[in-house]
């Protein structure tokens, strides 16, 4: 491991990988990435793998749209020899309550104004998109054909190998234990394998972002929470888009491989670092998904697991620096949708680190917005 660097990136998930790649692409020479376990071992490798533009806030819409633009050419850009399993077969988001339906009309108007071509569907139109769907009790849905799926492991690996080709020093089982600051400037990252002197340290530590921020005295309004998920055996084609409902708190998508990935939020889930899994989840998930997609009654579950959401008070990420602390940047608190925002965030954070103007203005996603009271909660989350 190198002892000096232009920047140290903390975290070997998709966010850290995308930042490291973009730093090198934009001209930084000496980038060191420290991951305390292996790549994708935190939230990235446990996520639902969906990518969508259909958000309820301008900030999330723009980040997601820019990211999908990048996902479309990512395999070429990163010169990755394997399939990223990127598919654009849409997201179909179901409305079962009046409140949801009203919100969706606002969401689609906002999305359309930002160039996202989502549309409202009647239950009949939803069934044309997903013939297996039970539309009983459904008021309507929104659909956007550009949304879809990508493989989080391949995407992260693609960023890391591209970064390595350009000279990144990527270190696994290397845990940052302290960040040295002097005179309001970042000086070094201290790890269990030695100290790396660097003027820039970037916190992309996912669920561990809060303890990492504490190393520089920054108190982030984050909490972590378990979200459970399962995968079925691979089967023949059942559905194209991700089927999602916010009021039921559920999502389900068939991957290009044929298996179905699905999850359901639990409003009673305590905060913390538990990543065990429960029988209750299997039971609730099976009951609810077989009501929406009855054909899944005969599809077997092969595995269940869980991962952590790192949640902010407004379900938007916290991006950028901290006043009075030169050289510290963070890309944290993605609230369950970091994977799909990674391409745009990787570039934005790299641009900030190099003193450039970010290609998207994310100044309203700084850490200070909560104290200033300048934030609006994203309504469209599971």
């Amino acid at each position: 491991m190198r002892r000096t660097a232009d920047a140290v990136v903390i975290g070997g998930g998709v966010i850290g990988a995308a930042i490291a790649y973009n730093l090198l692409k934009l001209g930084m020479k000496d980038v060191v990435l420290c991951e305390k376990a292996t790549f994708c071992s935190g939230s990235t490798g446990r996520c639902g793998a969906g990518v969508r533009e259909q958000w309820g806030s301008k900030g999330n819409c723009l980040l997601a749209k820019a990211s999908i633009d990048m996902f479309e050419r990512l395999a070429d850009e990163l010169d990755y020899p394997h399939d990223l399993e990127f598919k654009q077969k849409g997201y179909l988001i179901l409305a079962h309550t009046e409140k949801e339906w009203t919100q969706f009309q606002k969401n689609v108007a906002l999305q359309n104004s930002l160039g996202i071509r989502s549309r409202l569907c009647t239950p009949e139109e939803a069934r044309e998109i997903v013939p297996a769907l039970n539309t009983e009790g459904m008021l309507g849905a929104t659909y956007n054909a550009r949304d879809g799926h990508a493989n989080p492991f391949h995407v992260t690996r693609a960023y890391l190998t591209a970064a390595e080709r350009m000279g990144a020093d990527i270190n696994y089982f290397t845990e940052v234990t302290a960040i040295q600051v002097s005179g309001g400037k970042v000086k070094a990252a201290v790890t269990n394998k030695g100290t790396i002197e660097a003027p820039i340290v970037i916190n992309a530590a996912g669920p561990w972002a809060k303890p990492v921020a504490e190393m520089v005295g920054v108190d982030l309004p984050l909490f972590t929470q378990r979200h459970q998920i399962l995968v079925t055996e691979p089967v023949g084609w059942i559905l194209d888009p991700m089927v999602m409902s916010f009021s039921i708190g559920i999502y389900c998508q068939q991957t290009p491989h044929g298996s179905l990935i699905m999850g359901i939020g639990d409003p009673h889930e305590p905060k913390g670092y538990d990543i065990g899994h429960s029988w209750q989840f299997l039971r609730d998930m099976s009951r609810i998904i077989t009501r929406l997609l009855p054909v899944l009654k005969d599809v077997r579950v092969v595995r269940q697991w869980s991962g952590l959401y790192t949640v902010t008070p407004d379900a938007h990420p916290i991006l950028g620096g901290v006043p009075g602390l030169d050289g510290y940047l963070q890309a944290v608190g993605f609230s369950g949708h970091g994977f799909m925002l990674a391409p745009a965030v990787g570039r934005i954070i790299a641009e900030m680190a190099l003193g450039m103007e970010p290609f998207l203005d994310v100044s309203n996603l700084d850490a200070g917005r909560f104290e200033r009271g300048e934030y609006n909660v994203e309504p469209s989350v599971v």
Binding site: A132, V235, I238, G258, P294, L296, K297, D298, R300
Partner: protein, 113 residues
């Protein structure tokens, strides 16, 4: 009731296990009519008929057959009466079953009432 098949691939005398007489049933494999014992694993009846390739792999379409024999490995998946992903090693043979070699993921499951 016919209880004896002339194939010679089955163990009939075993120091511990008994193999009581069982009814002979007719089923089809890829449309071809075959016979086996009622209640034996589908894989046993197919093996007795000399059929070794039960499934082909997802990506490269390579042959897959009888392997773990206890329903764990997904090597012997077949399509039974249109239902994919049936484990031939643990599913019991019934009269009139329509059994087919599964190619990759097989056909999509159909909605059932």
């Amino acid at each position: 009731m016919e209880t004896k098949l002339s194939d010679n691939t089955r163990i009939e005398d075993h120091p511990i296990l008994d193999f009581p007489a069982r009814r002979v049933v007719t089923f089809t494999w890829e449309g071809q009519e075959l016979r086996g014992y009622e209640g034996e694993p589908i894989a046993a009846a197919l093996h007795a008929a000399g059929i070794k390739v039960l499934h082909t792999s997802h990506k490269s379409n390579r042959p897959r057959g009888f392997f773990c024999a206890i329903g764990n490995c997904s090597s012997c998946l077949v399509v039974v009466d249109g239902v994919p992903n049936v484990r031939a090693c643990t599913e019991k043979l019934r009269e009139g079953m329509r059994v087919e070699r599964q190619v990759g993921t097989g056909p999509a499951p159909r909605a059932r009432e």
